[in-house]
Subunit: 343 residues, 2 copies
């Protein structure tokens, strides 16, 4: 009998993780506060402090393409995307390791350029690269593991949101995807026009920068620690708003109503959608890679936050009401969790 | 002007790590006890305890080949090789994350088989998988990051060996490489002989098992903690004896004299070398993947150790004497650090 062969794309990333988690089983470790399933795992350091641990893999041709990503930016982004997972736990980044798969067409000089971006990001986030590994590979492959630190009482998880809590986001949504759209369209034009090609990116520098050099919101987390504020639940918006709202709802066993009109969007993001005749809502809901924070907060706590860094985009409801989106014309539809597909 | 292009193989893995370390600079973090350069990094948990952090990347076609490695064995080996780095610090493994790059020809069922091997290894080492990431990739790519725990006073580093200390190893040397040799030769015969091929592995089951399912020496570390023994310096033998002796010497600023006749070798390893007309010394000195421990100990402390698990293979000397190997015929030659090449 032939062994069964189910392609991974048939079940998708999240179902695969569920199956793997079932094989791995439950941990009996009393110092492990949280295992698989959140932005990072959490384990106890001492009576009052914990460490968080997370990892991300970026693969050439899947997550990035050398034709539009400078290597130093790629290094910085690999760090920022991992720092964002630490921030999503309300923790601050401390240490990271980096494993690299390197194809023969990548030189020593290119690896050095990559690490200059890493260094710059580490300086910005006040963290240290403490180890790594390198190997030959056919695709440039980056695997970062990151350790962050937090007072245990400050921890935020995906679970913990309460019915009636406001859904808030930092920053804006869709700009990283708008930047990617511009870069890909420019690349297409360059191929079509050859030597006649003149880059047209001056009007889109902000969104391109958001794609190439996103910053994790460590600044927001530091402000919250000073103000002694802790969200009831939190996630970072790496996979797009729609996917993240669904994660918070699933983990908190709640429903949600998101007001599309309240989601902050840059003028440039809007211009990109118009220029390429794309639906702005697609950028905003499913774009991903913004590395902003989405969190749950009791309405009474709203005055503790910096109003310029916080945008209320909806409300958590009973689970029975489902996860819904209200369009500016008041039409309400189910908000599904589609996001960036890795398979 | 064209940018400079130096192929990585021109400078090699260790020189690349030196260049990257220079770019990353020194850390000012007071809780970071040890950064890049040892088997694992070390950071403080509380006044008396530390965590160690290490990472390894395994790439299909570079570190393993599906034609001879069952997926569950590959999963277990990915864990063991990382646990070995933790053991080399005299620490015990606690948590790990796993990032996987998965090509389309790998099914859900194959990934599940891989994770059954992971689970088995985790149960054996009493540790927990706490997170991970998955992505499409052209080669099956495994990146593990591992966190271990240790009382700070027990830590062993690559530095710290003293002149006159004995060089000891646990277990034997060269068996994992002997196993690989058998598997590769069998694969070759299978290709040449087609349907007429009859596997000839019964006499080599031990060394094949050492290649496919090596065990990290957590048992030794636990025994040492009970006996309150701490080596003056330590490393695991993942790259082969020659490379590891040189690492200990470089980090401890010492020389060494290794007696080849004292290095423990399995009879099977010897048979494999004879059968394929290979030099046994090559297996023993440069084979790698044994995941045993090599450590430095004051001669007066030798009676603290289990004699059946400890083999004295040489002595640390003044740095000026260099790193040397004595053959059974008493000839002494320089022992160079060549080992498994990743580029």
């Amino acid at each position: 009998m032939e062994p069964q062969f189910t392609p991974i794309e048939n079940i998708g990333e999240f179902e695969l993780i569920d199956r793997v988690s079932a094989i791995l089983g439950e941990s009996a470790d009393p110092d492990l506060i949280l295992g698989i399933g959140d932005d990072a795992a959490v384990f106890r350091a001492d009576d009052d402090h914990s460490f968080v641990l997370s990892t991300d893999m970026l693969v050439e041709g899947v997550h990035f393409d050398f034709s539009y990503v400078p290597l130093s930016h790629l290094g910085a982004k690999a760090i920022s995307s991992n720092v964002s997972d630490v921030a999503a736990m309300n923790a601050l980044p401390s240490y990271a390791t980096i494993s690299l798969g390197i194809p023969p067409r990548v030189s020593v000089e290119m690896v050095e350029e990559f690490y200059r971006g890493i260094r710059q990001a580490c300086d910005m986030y006040e963290m240290t690269i403490v180890g790594g590994d390198v190997s030959r590979a056919r695709q440039f492959t980056i695997s970062v593991a990151i350790v962050g630190r937090v007072e245990t009482r400050r921890l935020s998880f995906r679970r913990g949101a309460q019915p009636g809590d406001l859904i808030c986001v930092t920053g804006d949504a869709g700009s990283a995807f708008a930047g990617l759209k511009v870069l890909l369209e420019q690349q297409k034009s360059m191929k079509e026009q050859g030597d006649a090609f003149v880059p047209d990116i001056d009007d889109y520098r902000t969104v391109i920068n958001r794609q190439l050099m996103p910053a994790a919101r460590v600044d927001v987390i530091k402000g919250w620690h000073e103000a002694d504020f802790r969200p009831n639940a939190m996630i970072d918006t790496s996979d797009g708003l729609a996917s993240e709202v669904n994660h918070l709802c699933r983990n908190s066993q709640l429903g949600a109503l998101v007001d599309l009109a309240e989601v902050p969007v840059l003028t440039e993001t809007n211009s990109v959608a118009e220029k390429y005749e794309a639906a702005l809502a697609e950028f905003v809901l499913y774009g991903g890679e913004d590395y902003e924070l989405m969190f749950a907060i009791n309405p009474n706590d709203l005055d503790k936050l910096n109003p310029s860094a916080t945008h209320v985009i909806g409300t958590f409801t009973a689970q029975s009401e489902g996860v819904r989106l209200r369009f500016p014309n008041s039409q309400v539809v189910p908000l599904e969790a589609k996001g960036f597909k890795h398979f």
